[in-house]
Subunit: 457 residues, 2 copies
Amino acid sequence: MIAQPIAYAERNRDLYLTQLIDLLRIPSVSTQTDHDNDTQAAAAWVADSMVAAGLDNVQVIGTPRHPLVYADWLHAGLDAPTVLIYGHYDVQPAEPFALWDSPPFEPEVRDGYLYARGASDDKGQLFVHIKAVEAYLQTNGRLPVNVKFIIEGEEEMGGASLADFIPRHKDLLAADVALVSDTAMISPNQPAIVYGLRGLCYVLLDVTGPSRDLHSGSYGGGIDNPLNVLGHIISQLKDQDGRILIPGFYDNVRPLSEQERDLLGQLPLDEETWLKETGAPAIWGDPDHTLVERLGARPTLDLHGVIGGYTGPGAKTVLPSTVHAKLSMRLVPDQDPQEIANQFKAYVAEIAPRTVRVDVVAEHGGNPTIVDLDMPAIKAAVSAYEATFKQTPVFMREGGSIPVVNQFKQHLGLETVLMGFGLPDDKIHAPNERFYLENFYRGIQTSIHFFASYSEL
Amino acid sequence: MIAQPIAYAERNRDLYLTQLIDLLRIPSVSTQTDHDNDTQAAAAWVADSMVAAGLDNVQVIGTPRHPLVYADWLHAGLDAPTVLIYGHYDVQPAEPFALWDSPPFEPEVRDGYLYARGASDDKGQLFVHIKAVEAYLQTNGRLPVNVKFIIEGEEEMGGASLADFIPRHKDLLAADVALVSDTAMISPNQPAIVYGLRGLCYVLLDVTGPSRDLHSGSYGGGIDNPLNVLGHIISQLKDQDGRILIPGFYDNVRPLSEQERDLLGQLPLDEETWLKETGAPAIWGDPDHTLVERLGARPTLDLHGVIGGYTGPGAKTVLPSTVHAKLSMRLVPDQDPQEIANQFKAYVAEIAPRTVRVDVVAEHGGNPTIVDLDMPAIKAAVSAYEATFKQTPVFMREGGSIPVVNQFKQHLGLETVLMGFGLPDDKIHAPNERFYLENFYRGIQTSIHFFASYSEL
């Protein structure tokens, strides 16, 4: 029964690629309002592809920002489990455009990779499951499990609309497990199942001194400089080894067990290759933890952007009025984003001098997660990867955040299987994002196997 | 002999105002190439006014950018001293236009002030001396001293053409003292002579980590963040009280004598008014020095601009590749800009972690200056102010730099008398620039007195 969908998917490789390229042409950047027509177009495109796959009840659901897309197929029988599949059609901004080797929204295949913004994060990966479902429905006319899709368009801007939708539609979204492909494998032939995700606390920090830019010659030495103050604040947030200095920050960090340290120690991470891929001069971080632990199992604090004063060409000697900084803290169980935001605000208020005004706004948060490795859907995912890649997946923690995983847990009681098909060097969120095409096709096979295996467990 | 020029100037107040308004109508913005015709027009206008005043050898001298204007009158006799008068006819950009109460190039008199871009900086102040010379030549037919004028059109863009001209025309510009009116008094009735100017060491500082922006979730904790590193570097350049931490930085700072501290202590600076004008929450700086000392007689270090990472709207979680900072140090005698640049580079190289690459480029410098208060031209300036304002001028140090003062010293061996007629709230470089008209007229009188007094000392 699995042979037909596998063969169907195999036969249609070229068609699937053409279709994915179509979707990637839509610049559905959720954070930039001038792309609002594009997010609408991407939602409609996804809905159309679900209809074509044979799914039922396909709906584009309006929200205050970008639409959700829902679809289901619920004819596998009462005994069959239900899988809730999540993905997002919105993408990160593509700036700076000049650093792309081919334009971000004109997808191009080079050396087996498909280059485009959103190729890996997450259009390529969400499309995998639509095509797997299509392969079943267009051959066997049925799936071995019930499926529901919920696809959002605000993942890259915090996911507010879906966060609002989930608790108000528990029935519609009810399932036995959630399935998300928005993570990376270890290497092209080494799959990985992510069982831990970091949470997030995102903060905007503005420092304002004088009410206008002053001449630094006339006022320097008599008025504090917001950029200098920001430097002092930054230096007190995290020491140079990466230990975060906010009082109480580590209080709720669940210590790593010996067993988990062993598990993480077995991950085949070649530090030299990893470093080379980043282009940074050196690996860095808290010396009390291994690199793998630091990347997924420990909290961090990173500045994302700073702008202030004169940043044009040449020399201008202003004492700037104001400076804007964006930063976030990645959290691990059992840190709470709201509590961390409060600690951050209190600490900055304490260390900021009275010579400036400091404004802190906590933008959005996400709770950290850990998944139970013994549940049937995880076993099904292991066997699906093994069937396709001829390789047992490793278990790892991811440094990033997928807030929806938390919401599924909190409101629907669902555990999530994070079955990624990306690669660590996909350059998501950066210029030249790409998706390894062979694993796009193998992803579809893996999804086909997963539905079969899960129905049998 | 002085009564006639004084009376002449008094009689012609309205005419002088009409003429100055004419000059201010020309939008001679030197940094904006679409105003190149206007700088040409302003130079021609100044030259015409010199011819009308009765000056000899009036020349508009072409340069790669904006012309210089030269003129002289050298018939005072071999024993009479020669004064080299400097000014600039170019102005700052007037943007943002919307913040002007009357258009910047349509001069308007309101409440005794003349509002226009360049009114105080420096068209109004340079015109003072042309009119003083005219008053002598149109009445007595002669001046008590020899005078030379050198007027430039690039002051607001760095003054490259004049800097190039001076060392190649030492003979043409030879004089006994230089006279510059491009500074401010304390208040409408309290004149000031600036006897110290700070020098400058301008630095570009770039911090680069990974070769591209990375996802902070995937790499945070394993790769050092250039923005966090920049914060640590900034915090080690200057402590929170404003003391600069670069080793050796203060070694050549000439200590303030008790006499000079007394002199500066007498400056009538109302700290509350001063603070209010900046809009900052508090006065700030090295507690070992008074505000007046810190603003002119002590070195500073100020960041002027920082840009790096994601600075667009919304939240983006990049670990940025690179960050650019501009900063400068204001220097006092006897600090040397080149030596300070070297100290800065060595210190940053020492404190920067090996996890990033730090590039430091020293852009341009200027030496700090102190004028000898005992020289005859200073005494002449004091008595000229006293004769006009019935008030002894105070001596003050200026925080900014006037590079031409340095060039006169270095290439022509000249000390400069900085005899300003502006006011602290003239809003130079800002919207609603203005010049207090009463002091325009009193400036002409002061200049007339100065020439007379200087010839007698």
